[in-house]
């Protein structure tokens, strides 16, 4: 499968990574190399083999449904980012974390 520079830019945008022309070209080469390797691996007959979904051959342990966490909001909110725009205050208000306005 041949990758284009547009594919690289699209993936970078989806991952919110800023990428310049040079880096995009370098990434294109590296990713194309990985895909070529995968293409080689696809020559192996894997019919009848259950696809692996985890590196360890174990199954998920389950947790009993009990509330074990206490309210640590004040501690956690000390880690909130600085509001910025000249303000040194934390980006919290009324218990909420503040982010730039999102409108849909």
């Amino acid at each position: 499968m041949a990758l284009s520079i547009e594919d690289i830019k699209k993936v970078a945008h989806l991952a919110r990574i800023e990428i310049n022309e040079n880096d995009a070209n370098a990434t294109l080469n590296k990713l194309s190399g990985i895909l070529a390797l995968i293409e080689q691996m696809q020559a192996v007959d894997t019919s009848g083999i259950v696809p692996m979904s985890h590196a360890q051959d174990l199954s998920q342990r389950l947790r009993d449904d009990v509330v074990s966490k206490t309210n640590l909001r004040d501690e956690f909110q000390k880690n909130a980012p600085i509001l910025g725009n000249g303000s040194q205050e934390l980006a919290v208000a009324g218990g909420l974390y503040l982010v730039p306005k999102v409108i849909e």
């Binding site: 199954s59 966490k69 309210n71 909001r73 909420l96 999102v102 849909e104």
Partner: protein, 482 residues
């Protein structure tokens, strides 16, 4: 051209747990912002998700209830997108291998206009476990949005149908049925105001007779059946008009505005919908054994369809009665409690679906807050069957009990509603009536059947409505034939 609408639903049901799906934070509704947002909900570095056993239990329960395959091995995946109420940058969901596979739900579509009521099977494609996102609060601080992560990590079961529905009525009938079912099996509280049951509806139209699906638009987050009807009807009309005007439908997510009754596109899906799913390396595959399923099965209540069949067979109720009584677990439990307290089934069905439902509706009350318990209703019905009171008097007793005026027998005594069942006293009344209405007696003897009813009426009136009507009939007949 004649058009056909094609509808499929995705429903997010909040599972009944006390803690989150991947952490021990509380999921209690209505807490102060972020007081139930632990380090896992906040996605602080180094935290790991640990799956809640009860959430899995609920998923298995649902799978068994719709006769679906329960995956012996299912996998959690990361659904990647950026939004401030999703601090990890991905939602943990299931993609290729969901916990519940194909199943089916039978719905009853009510009669409308010329169309009579009918049943239909809606196929379920899958149901998968996932976590809910947080909540954005607008307007609290100028120019900023506030984020409350209490809801982040709340366990959800997303239930996806095939595009099997062909009208708003069918879609709503399905949503209502599903809403009843998840509450019946106790996996979801069904509270739509609090967002415990939210529907996304995929709508497309195509020329009638075509087997190709049209381009769909997805109406997001409908949390009332009324809005669902309005939104689907508006959207269907809009799509047909657009196509008839030579336009094209763009795949999109739309929101319904209850104030205008219109739908409006939210974002173009092409770019936003590239979620780049991959298996979450933080979670191992979920393995469900035959023993696990058997354990859940043992914990399953009798399902509405089975109970309906049982009510029809055991109590000779009509299909309509049995299906109304099994519309909710609460109603079914109430009915059975009245039967257990000695009430007669058909009569109980009539009262529960008649006087009781009417009263509850008129006061906008739930059955759980009914002032009259199943045992009290049973006692009232017993007083009808043993001849203590007439049906009419029973209605008065019912109203008095509703007002909290006391128990059945004390109300009957206080209001003097007891029927006169002493045959001597009734005979005396009838003798008086016959003497005073010689003309009617003659008419009856001349073959006028109607005169008999008039005489019964006179006797009832003379007793101030307290005489047992059956006895009045018997005695009067004997006397006239004598």
């Amino acid at each position: 051209m004649e058009w056909e609408v094609v509808i499929g639903l995705e429903t997010h049901t909040q599972l009944q747990t006390v803690s989150k799906i991947f952490s021990g934070a509380s999921v209690k509704y209505g807490a102060e912002p972020n007081t139930q947002a632990c380090e896992v909900s906040l996605a602080l570095p180094g935290v790991l998700p640990v799956l809640n056993k009860q959430a899995v239990h609920c998923a298995i329960k649902f799978g068994l209830a719709i006769n679906a395959e329960i995956a012996p091995r299912s996998v959690f995946a990361r659904k990647n997108y950026f939004y401030p109420d999703l601090p990890k940058g991905y939602q943990i969901s299931q993609f290729e291998l969901p916990v519940v596979g194909k199943g089916a739900i039978t719905i009853q579509v009510p009669a409308a206009g010329k169309q009579s009521a009918y049943e239909k099977v809606v196929n379920i494609t899958r149901a998968h476990l996932e976590e809910d996102a947080g909540k954005s609060v607008h307007g609290a601080v100028e120019g900023m949005s506030g984020i409350d992560l209490n809801r982040a990590g709340t366990p959800l079961l997303e239930i996806v149908t095939e595009p099997d529905m062909r009208s708003a009525a069918e879609a709503v009938a399905y949503a209502k049925k599903l809403h009843e079912l998840v509450q019946w099996i106790g996996i979801c509280d069904g509270n739509m105001q609090e967002g415990s049951f939210r529907c996304d509806v995929n709508v497309s139209v195509r020329p009638k007779g075509s087997d190709k699906l049209g381009t769909r638009r997805e109406i997001k987050n409908l949390n009332s059946f009324k809005f669902m009807t309005q939104a689907i009807e508006y959207e269907t009309r809009w799509q047909i008009e657009t196509l008839e005007d030579g336009g094209k439908i763009q795949q999109a997510t739309v929101l319904f505005n209850p104030d205008t009754g219109e739908t409006r596109a939210m974002r173009s899906k092409e770019e936003a919908n590239d979620y780049r799913y991959f298996p979450d390396p933080d979670l191992l595959p979920l393995v469900i054994s035959e023993q696990d399923k058997a354990r859940v099965q043992a914990d399953m209540p009798e399902l509405p369809a089975a109970m309906k069949a049982r009510l029809e067979a055991k109590f000779a109720l009509s299909s309509y009665d049995a299906s109304s009584l099994t519309a909710s677990r609460e109603l079914a439990d109430y009915f059975m409690a009245a039967i257990d307290a000695g009430a007669e089934p058909k009569q109980t069905a009539n009262w529960v679906m008649g006087s009781l439902s009417a009263k509850l509706n008129s006061e906008d009350k739930d059955l759980s807050s009914s002032p009259i318990s199943a045992q009290q209703l049973a006692q009232l019905l017993k007083r009808i069957s043993d001849g203590t009171i007439s049906n009419n008097a029973a209605k008065q007793v019912f109203d008095a009990m509703w007002q909290g005026e006391g128990e059945v027998d004390s109300i009957i005594a206080a209001k003097g509603l007891k029927q006169e069942s002493d045959s001597g006293a009734i005979e005396a009344i009838i003798d008086e009536v016959l003497a005073a209405n010689a003309a009617m007696v003659e008419e009856f003897k001349a073959g006028k059947e109607k005169a008999f009813n008039a005489l019964v009426g006179q006797a009832m009136k003379a007793s101030k409505g307290k005489a047992n009507p059956a006895q009045v009939n018997d005695i009067l007949k004997k006397k006239l034939q004598a």
